[in-house]
């Protein structure tokens, strides 16, 4: 009984720590004053050669849209190249990309053979890395649609030699398609407008999202590219960058649209991969983060909390069950007080690991009033995330037991519905 009580108190304390962290982020996003970013009309003085990698596996519905957009970007074309990695596509992705490559000299296509291709984004990116020549490398998913001056805005951060990578903001393109896309849009708002923004401003661990971001080629070569065994190659790279002594910067004004998953099945598949990958990263990096000499104390604390974020839904449920059991078995006086923390644990964990108030303030800052009405429905994604994270943990433990190293990469299907929203 005493052991259960200690476990319950520990969980309540951990969840309260997350709640405080996110409340702090919300306040920073609301009230932190920062210097005005350079306007898009200003020419950046720093214009290194830039390569954009677009890994694409069966993306025929969206590949033309992003390549067309690449031709419209305002970055000087003589310092710019686009590498499309046709990752063993069985549809017309390769052909469509080739047509663009014929018409635009700065677009190149790398084909991967079906015998060894199509096994996930990290492998495709590693292959693409052999073909790039730019000092700065950017990654865009095939379903993305960036602002015209996004490269200038992101590249400006690399003037600082300590900046190893940069991340822009992602906004949902097909938001009005379904309830799922609307909820994903809400999660993105909280995640980028508040969470990433605050972490950047506070000098904590800003996350490189794997797409709509870039890094120094010298750094990625030093880090030996992406690890194909990792399902969340972006989180893995983020921590490797920080452990190597570099920083990741977030640029809120560099905006890019993405096509969000449109149904619950796709949501489940995508989040399962993220959860499993993130947990892999937690197991791999947690000790290195805590003992690193390249990280400050606040970065270590934030890194620890960030690495464990996909365990939070499990902690919340565990606290809930433990609290109820303890209360029913032997309700002592202090139990009432601790039981109060259980609702808070739920409030702090709803949504994509951002509390509802963080999401709400993100929407407020973006001037989105109606979307706030959907915030209570984030309870649905939270319930789903409990199942997703539980399954991910079980899968990982089973693979540890059975000695299985490689996990299957589940690709998110993009059907190009987002194109309707582009004028």
């Amino acid at each position: 009984m005493q052991l259960l009580s200690i476990a319950f108190m520990g969980l309540a304390a951990l969840i309260t720590a997350y709640l405080i962290r996110h409340y702090l982020f919300t306040l920073v996003a609301l009230y932190h004053k920062k210097e005005a970013p350079p306007s898009s009309s200003n020419k950046t003085v720093y214009e290194p050669t830039v390569s954009v990698m677009i890994p694409a596996h069966n993306e025929e519905q969206v590949i033309e849209r992003i390549l067309q957009r690449m031709t419209e970007l305002t970055y000087p074309k003589e310092k710019f190249e686009v590498i499309v990695i046709d990752d063993a596509s069985t549809d017309k992705t390769g052909e469509k990309a080739k047509t663009f490559a014929k018409n635009y000299s700065f677009i190149h296509v790398v084909h991967r053979d079906p015998a060894y291709g199509g096994r996930g984004k990290p492998e495709a990116l590693n292959r693409g890395l052999k073909h790039v020549s730019g000092e700065i490398i950017y990654c865009f998913d095939a379903d993305y649609y960036p602002q015209r001056d996004v490269i200038e805005k992101l590249t400006a951060c690399f003037i600082n030699p300590k900046v190893g990578a940069v991340q822009g903001r992602v906004t949902v393109l097909n938001e009005s398609h379904s309830l799922v896309t609307r909820l994903v849009a809400l999660e993105r708002t909280g995640g980028y407008r508040v969470d990433q923004f605050a972490r950047n401003e506070l000098g904590l661990i800003t996350q490189f999202g794997g797409t709509m971001g870039g890094f120094r080629r010298s750094l990625i070569e030093r880090l030996r590219g992406w690890d194909p065994d990792m399902l969340a190659e972006d989180t893995d790279l983020t921590f490797r960058i920080y452990l190597a002594g570099y920083k990741v910067k977030y640029v809120n004004d560099a905006d890019c649209y993405e096509e969000a998953v449109e149904n619950w099945r796709s949501y489940w598949r995508q989040r399962s991969r993220w959860a499993k990958g993130h947990m892999q990263c937690a197991f791999r990096h947690i000790w290195s983060v805590l003992w690193s000499r390249n990280l400050r104390l606040r970065e270590k604390v934030d890194g620890f909390l960030l690495l464990n974020i996909y365990f939070v839904p499990l902690f919340a449920v565990l606290a809930w069950i433990l609290g109820a059991v303890l209360f029913l078995l032997q309700p002592p006086g202090w139990m009432n007080l601790l039981w109060m923390t259980v609702p808070i644990s739920f409030y702090s964990s709803v949504g994509n690991f951002a509390p509802f108030f963080e999401v709400g303030i993100g929407a407020y800052l973006d001037g989105r009033n109606r979307i706030c009405w959907l915030i209570p429905l984030l309870l649905l994604t939270f319930m789903l995330n409990i199942l997703i994270c539980t399954k991910a943990l079980i899968d990982l433990c089973l693979s540890k037991i059975t000695g299985k190293k490689r996990h299957k990469w589940t690709k998110t299907v993009h059907n190009g519905n987002g194109s309707h929203y582009i004028k």
Partner: protein, 143 residues
């Protein structure tokens, strides 16, 4: 309080400390009233009400918007909370009359979710009211 910073969007806003001061007086009064009203000093119910009021105080009162609107929203929200609590109590009494603790156990276990429903819904609606006000003011300034 449409400061220059607010209009620029990318810069931080300044919290409205006067509204927060008024809000803290109101919130203290409301919590005191709840302490008097809530039966048997029901801590979880009081915690939910307290959490809602603090949420309002720290994440709605400092935002842009007329003070009167914020006060009305806070009082309306507390009424919803009290109503929610009364409904729960009436169910509890009904089941007690039937001589079963079943509802009490279910209510205890489901409490986090039950409280979540009203707190988040009321707070989100209130936030959307303030967001609408902010958008309207920005449009007016632009025009």
């Amino acid at each position: 309080m449409a400061s220059k910073e607010c209009r620029l969007g990318h810069l931080g806003m300044r919290p409205n400390f006067f509204h927060m001061a008024v809000g803290s007086v109101l919130v203290t009064t409301i919590i005191f009233l709840h302490l008097q009203l809530i039966r048997k000093f029901d801590l979880p119910a009081l915690a939910a009400i307290g959490f809602f009021n603090l949420l309002f105080l720290f994440l709605l009162f400092p935002l842009e918007g007329p003070l009167l609107r914020k006060i009305v929203l806070l009082i309306a929200g507390n009424h919803v909370g009290a109503l929610w609590y009364i409904i729960q109590l009436s169910f509890e009494d009904a089941f007690l009359f039937l001589n079963t603790d079943l509802f009490k156990i279910i209510a205890l276990i489901a409490k986090p979710l039950i409280d979540f429903v009203w707190i988040v819904a009321v707070w989100s609606l209130s936030l959307s009211v303030l967001a609408s006000y902010r958008i309207r003011m920005e449009r007016l300034e632009k025009s």
